[in-house]
Amino acid sequence: MPTRLNISEQELVARLQRNDRVAYEHLYDNYSTALYGVINRVITDEEMACDVLQEAFVKIWNNIHGYDAAKGKLFTWMLNICRNLAIDKTRSKDYSNNQKNQSAEKSVSQLERIHTETIKPDQIGLREVVGQLDPNERFLIDLMYFKGYTQAEIAEEYNMPLGTVKTRLRSATMNLRKLFK
């Protein structure tokens, strides 16, 4: 039976800080699919993705006292932990050895194709959302948000003026907001 607590976020945080088992079960049962989905947007290897989710929960447990509700929602905080751990993983040695055969050339269209193919069959909602976004804009968001690129790195790697990166990013964010209102 999945655990579901009917309590405010404030109360949940207080219970997490007390190492309350039920609170952590609630956290896992209600957020692990969303968080694991995010990790899967960065890493496709199942074993690695599982490791990242585990590391993320250990980190959440270790750092829950440092969570500051004034800076954002608990879920955003957890999501960023997962995303950053996953990005770190893609930069580790193991990962690059794994992916070596893929990195021969790095054209926009190729990365684009790889990215679209990494959507798993059960991520139907994602496929729909992705279809409604301009491919160039989505590509830019994904490079930054899921691959950890800086604007300058994108400009350099894809031979785009930095100004174009910035304008496109802004319009991409506007469109995202329209889509997820």
Partner: protein
């Protein structure tokens, strides 16, 4: 600070996309704490990004749940203690009824207090946020008052002579105001009436003493928080003038670049 301008600068997006340095992140967080409209905008961007990021949930393998939970050192929540009650005696029925009524009263009081407590917790958090915002506003206002007080001290000094510098053919609409303290010989200037300068240029103030120009210093390049800027002291000035000079100023005035002039 114009919050609309701040929002349109795109810095909030960069915060959400993790593109800022730790110092820049702190600035954004401070702006959010200070301005509810900036905070609302940030929350909207963050919410859409969260929604995009989680648009494709994936069920992790079932075994992962126990693997992860066993990694954390968790404590079992204490079970509510079960108190065994002796079986009620028939003759004590009225006592049981009274106890039940008392329990009911007590429970509803508990519930009421719990509800109140929850509401109060929310209010405390809100008040803390409000207090932080007010403390920030207060610090800002104190700074402004200090600046205005300093300006006012100069303006209300009876020893001050006010000299209006009027525009010359170079820029007839330009003007500036000098307050010269005839006792302390100090000079203050208000330059809000001067046009903006081209890159690499700077205004320089001169006093005419015995028919000769005396350098009173260059005007600050960036807009100041004070209305009045203090320049060098001068005794017995006959006139004041401002010229446009290369950045950093010149040893003598470039006469054809004189923009305003005012005689005592």
């Amino acid at each position: 600070m114009e919050t609309r301008e701040y929002i349109e600068s795109g810095v909030l997006e960069l915060y959400v996309y993790d593109q800022l340095s730790p110092a820049e992140r702190r600035d954004v967080e401070a702006m959010c704490a200070l301005h509810p409209d900036v905070r609302a905008e940030m929350e909207a961007i963050q919410a859409s990004m969260d929604a995009y990021a989680t648009a494709g949930p994936v069920q992790p393998p079932a075994a992962l749940r126990e693997r992860i939970l066993s990694q954390l050192e968790l404590t079992e929540a204490p079970e509510p203690p079960v108190v065994k009650m002796p079986a009620p005696q028939p003759s004590y029925n009225w006592m049981a009824a009274a106890a039940a009524v008392l329990l009911l009263v007590s429970l509803s009081i508990n519930y009421y207090q719990y509800d109140q407590n929850k509401a109060l917790n929310g209010q405390v958090a809100q008040l803390q946020t409000d207090r932080n915002v007010m403390a920030d506003n207060n610090a800002h206002l104190t700074k402004q008052i200090n600046i205005v007080t300093a300006d006012l001290a100069v303006l209300s000094n009876p020893a001050n002579v006010k000299i209006e510098l009027a525009g010359l053919p170079l820029s007839p609409a330009a003007k500036a105001l000098i307050y010269w303290d005839r006792q302390r010989k100090s000079t203050y200037i208000n330059t809000t009436g001067l046009p903006p300068l081209a890159e690499g240029k700077q205004y320089q103030l001169w006093a005419i003493v015995d028919g000769k120009p005396v350098d009173l210093g260059v005007l600050p390049l960036t807009p100041q928080e004070t209305i009045l800027a203090q320049m060098r002291d001068v005794s017995e000035p006959q006139a004041f003038a401002i010229t446009i000079e290369p950045k950093g100023g010149s040893a003598g005035p470039t006469l054809d670049q004189m923009i305003v002039l005012g005689k005592m």
